[in-house]
Structure formats: C-alpha cells, structure tokens
Amino acid sequence: MGFWITQSLNSLALGGLLFILSAGFSLIFGLMRIANLSHGAYFMLGAYVGLTLLQKGVNFWIAALAAGAAIAILGGLVERIVLRQLAGRTLSQVLATLGIAFIIADACLWIWSGDPIPLTGPASLRGAVPVLGTHFPLYRLGVIGIAAVIALALWLLVEKTRIGAMIRAGVDDLDMARAVGIPVKALFTAVFCLGSALAGLGGVIAGPILSVYPGLDADMLPLALVVVILGGVGSLGGAVLGSIVIGFIYTFGNALLPDLAYVILFLPMVIVLVARPRGLFGRIPT
C-alpha cells in the first residue's frame, strides 16, 4: 500500500513540475503556432540565473520570480528581433528557436562552467512530512501546490481578463482576431514573454529537485513536447491533464517496467499520435 501511495505522490509532484515546464510551451504554441524548441534552454537558463541569485543570498521566491522576469525579457527580445521577422513562416520560426537553443546552451556552459549544482530550496519547505502513512518530502508537496497556483492564475488570466479573451480569440481564429482589431503583434510578444517567464520560473522551482547542469535543456525539452502532445495544444486543461498523466506513466513505468525505462515516455506518445493525431484534447494543427 505504501508503495502505491508514495509513487502516486511522486507522480503528482512530477506532474506539477511538468505542468510548470510545459504550460509556457503550450501557451506559445497554441497562440503563435511556434513549437519553441528553445523552451528547455530557457528553463535551464532560468535555473542558472536563480542559482546565481540564491548564491548571493536572495530569498528563494524572489529569486524564482526574478529569474522568470529575466527570461521574460530575453524572450521578448528574441521575439522582436528574430521571430517577428519570420512571421508567417512557422518552420523557419521553429528552426530559429532550435538555433537559439544551441546558443543559450553553450552560453550557459561558458558562463557557469559545467559543474552540476543543486539549488537549495526555501528553508520553509525542507525535510519530509508524514503523509498517508509514508514520509514524503515537503518541497515536492510544495511543488504540487505551486503548480496548482500557477494553473489557477493562468486560468483566471485566460478566462477572466481581456488579454485572456484576446488570446483565446487568437487561438481560435487568428485572421478573424486581426480583423476585429486585436493587436496581434503586441499580443504575440506578450505571450512569448509570458511563456518564457514560465519556463524560467519553472527552472528555479524545479532546481531543488532536478539541480542544474549542462544537458538539462535537452533532458527537459522532450518531456515538455510529450506533455503538450498528449494533452493537446492551446488547451490549459489539456496541459494540466497531460502533465498528470505523464507524471503517472513516467513514475509507475520506471518502477514497474524498468526495462522500458529509456522509452517509457515515447511509446505512449507514438500510440496516442497514431490513434489520435491531434492529441488527447487538442488542436494540434495538422
């Protein structure tokens, strides 16, 4: 019984982490149709920036928000300088993000050198607590909570604000949105900034669990892709459900089918895509 409870909690915690990682990706892809292949790199860069701030004694939460803000600025610059010039050519945009991923990854290696460094979590969330008969790290419960907060905040943004309405309009029908006067260019920049900020913030939040090391970006990107594919793009509910499902598949898959460990995520991805090419919920443009 303890096994099932602990692994379920592990799954939820991993799901929370995945949601924070992929929410930004899903948002950008949903509205702008750009598969931002530098998303993993932003995540890693956010973790490094957060690390530097933490090493200077900054409070964990402030460091996380600051890292998010820094990556948001970077994202905005990338969007204005590179992606906007390639408007309408999605393949080119995707490839440009691939090139940028190379650049950011090597720059991180240059600036922070290659040593792996764990981030220290906030003092308030240290240690393990008894939960349903097992001991579970408090920080991971915290991650579940943070993911829920972010999901709620995004839902409020998308459903209850004007910007959210504009985003939804854009996701549904971009040409029509332009036609009714929505400032699509500015919206794109804003959404790209938001998506990047989420990636950067995610890097710091995940830091105490994942640490930061060269290669973190390449390890995380496929996970974000899988979540978004499974959950469907442009759908917040899809991202949430996709994260949780992947969290469970990954955790229980690794525990029960260790021989499939290296392919545990990609098999379901292939199965889903072959059966339902638009994702479980979604609207992947095909």
């Binding site: 393949l91 490839l95 190379f102 899988v226 594919i229 021989d259 292939v270 895509l273 072959v274």
Partner: protein, 311 residues
C-alpha cells in the same frame, strides 16, 4: 548540356584528394560525402516532400548497427552485411512510414522524434545486441571488387562513387513525374487529391526512399568509423542533419551537400580554432534562417543573379 556542370563537379571531386595532400583532409572529405548522402536523404522528406522529421538519425543508426551486428555476430562479410542492412532498414522505414504518416505538420515531427528516441533508448538498453553505450567495435572495411579501402584515399573514392550514384538517382527521382507529384503533394495536397493522386502513397514511398538513402549513409558511416554507438541515433544527430538540409537549401539538389560541408567543417575544423564553436554554429544557423531562409544555395544563387543583372 546540363550534365556538363555535374561532370565538371565530379571531376573536381575526384581530383580533390590530390589537391588536399594531407590524409587528414581527405578523411574529412569522406565524412562530408557521407553526411551529404545523409542530408540528401532527409531532403527528400523535408525539402521535396514538405514533411519535417526530427528522427532521421534512426535510419543512419539502424543501417550502421545492422551492418555491424551482422558482421560481428553472424560473420557476414562487410559488403553482404551492408546489403542486408539496407534491406532491413528499408523495411523498418516502411513500417515507420505507416505510423508517422497518420499525422502531418507538428504531429509528424513529434512522431518521428518519438520513433527516433525509442530506437535510441533501445540501442542504449539492449546491451546484448547493441553493446549499450560502449557500442560495437572491431569492424573491418569491406573490399569491394577486391580493392582494399582501409586507406584514406581509396575509401574516399569508394565514398565518392556511392555519393555520385546517390546524387544521380536522387536527381532522377526529383526530376521524374513522381518527383513532380511529390512536390505537388507538398504544395497543394487537396488539389492533388482532387486530381486523383494517392497523396498518402506518394508520401509513403518518399518516406521509404528517404529511409533507404539514410541507411546507405549509415552503412558508409560504419565502414568509415569501424564503430557504432547510440550517439549516432541521438536527437542531436537528427537535429544536426535537419540543420544541414535547411542551412544548405531544402528542395534543392546541392543544398544538402553544401549544408553537410558546412556542419562537418564547423564541427571538426572550426572547433580547433574557436572554443565556443557550438555557439557559433547556432548563430550561423539563426542568421541563415533569418536572412537566407531558403538556404545557402538558393540565397547565393539569388545574390549572384542579382549581381549579374545589376544595372
């Protein structure tokens, strides 16, 4: 008359080893040829077919592993193993094609990525067959027609011969009615369907051909390196070959060759002089995507024709 430039290029390539002198550069040229075949194979999918794949390293990898395994475990001669490997990989491409073509656009990208990653994971994990991350080594080069190609120069000519045949066949394919229908399916699939073309079949055949030529590159790869490990199947490799195609010029015949030369030279030569060559590669790539979006070859051609027609 259009063959004059091809023949001239072939002669130049054949003369290259004598001009290069040092064996090291001849070996590098062989690697460029292998990468060029690999990039040409992906170009069939990406450039002419309009289907972007991020899992193409799978065909190079399986072609290479099959050759290695058949040689080491079943004792087949390298040439026989190579031929068998081509057959095996092409069959696999046929199967993968059926799965991957269920989707298109981003979905297709994702499926090809996932299929590639599954093979990569398999190569890592199935240690009994693949040797795991230590890979398979101790392979010998074949002796086609009895000629020993262990040396740099003989191998280069071998690779050049294969490359010339590959290039000619791909050119033939692209310029054939089938090639035209492929490009039609890329640009206007609905219209093609309305005209009665079986778009799925056109794409599937292309997929299989792309897999076949990818396998050819894989067999040459393992002949050249005498070694294969899971790194050849990684996502980085798939991304690199996509880079070669896009940077050189998708939907052109010579684009992938130029792109292959660019990446191989940057990785192996520039890295000796520039420590942050990965960063440089990323910058070059972004610049090409931004300013020469059709790739180097069409971009340079455009610049040249503009220069020629200057007032």
């Amino acid at each position: 008359m259009r063959y004059a430039s091809s023949i001239a290029a072939l002669v130049a390539l054949a003369a290259l080893p004598f001009a290069l002198g040092n064996e090291y550069y001849v070996n590098l040229a062989s690697q460029v040829l292998i990468a060029a075949i690999f990039a040409m194979s992906l170009n069939l999918l990406v450039g002419y077919g309009g289907m972007t794949s991020l899992g193409h390293a799978a065909y190079l990898g399986v072609g290479a592993y099959a050759t290695a395994w058949l040689t080491l475990r079943l004792g087949l001669g390298p040439l026989g193993a190579g031929a068998a490997a081509l057959a095996i990989t092409t069959l696999m491409a046929g199967f993968y094609g059926v799965l991957a073509l269920r989707a298109s656009g981003l979905g297709f990208l994702m499926i090809t990525l996932a299929l590639g990653q599954i093979l990569w994971g398999l190569a890592y994990r199935w240690v009994g067959v693949t040797g795991g991350d230590n890979g398979l080594s101790g392979l010998a080069r074949p002796a086609p027609l009895g000629i020993d190609i262990t040396g740099a120069r003989p191998f280069y000519f071998f690779a050049l011969a294969v490359f010339a045949v590959a290039f000619a066949l791909v050119a033939l394919f692209v310029r054939s009615p089938f090639g035209a229908s492929l490009q039609g399916a890329r640009d206007q699939p609905r219209r093609m369907r309305a005209l009665g073309y079986n778009v799925w079949m056109i794409r599937w055949i292309t997929f299989v051909l792309a897999g076949f030529w990818g396998a050819v590159a894989g067999v040459l790869y393992v002949y050249y390196n005498n070694f294969i490990s899971p790194h050849a199947l990684s996502l980085t490799q798939s991304a690199e070959v996509l880079l070669m195609v896009i940077a050189g010029g998708a939907a052109t015949l010579t684009g992938p060759v130029v792109g292959a030369a660019l990446v191989v030279v940057m990785k192996n030569v520039v890295s000796a002089y520039v420590e942050r060559w990965t960063l440089l590669l990323g910058v070059v790539f972004v610049l090409i995507v931004m300013f020469l979006p059709d790739g180097l070859v069409p971009g340079v051609q455009r610049l040249y024709s503009r220069w020629r027609t200057r007032p």
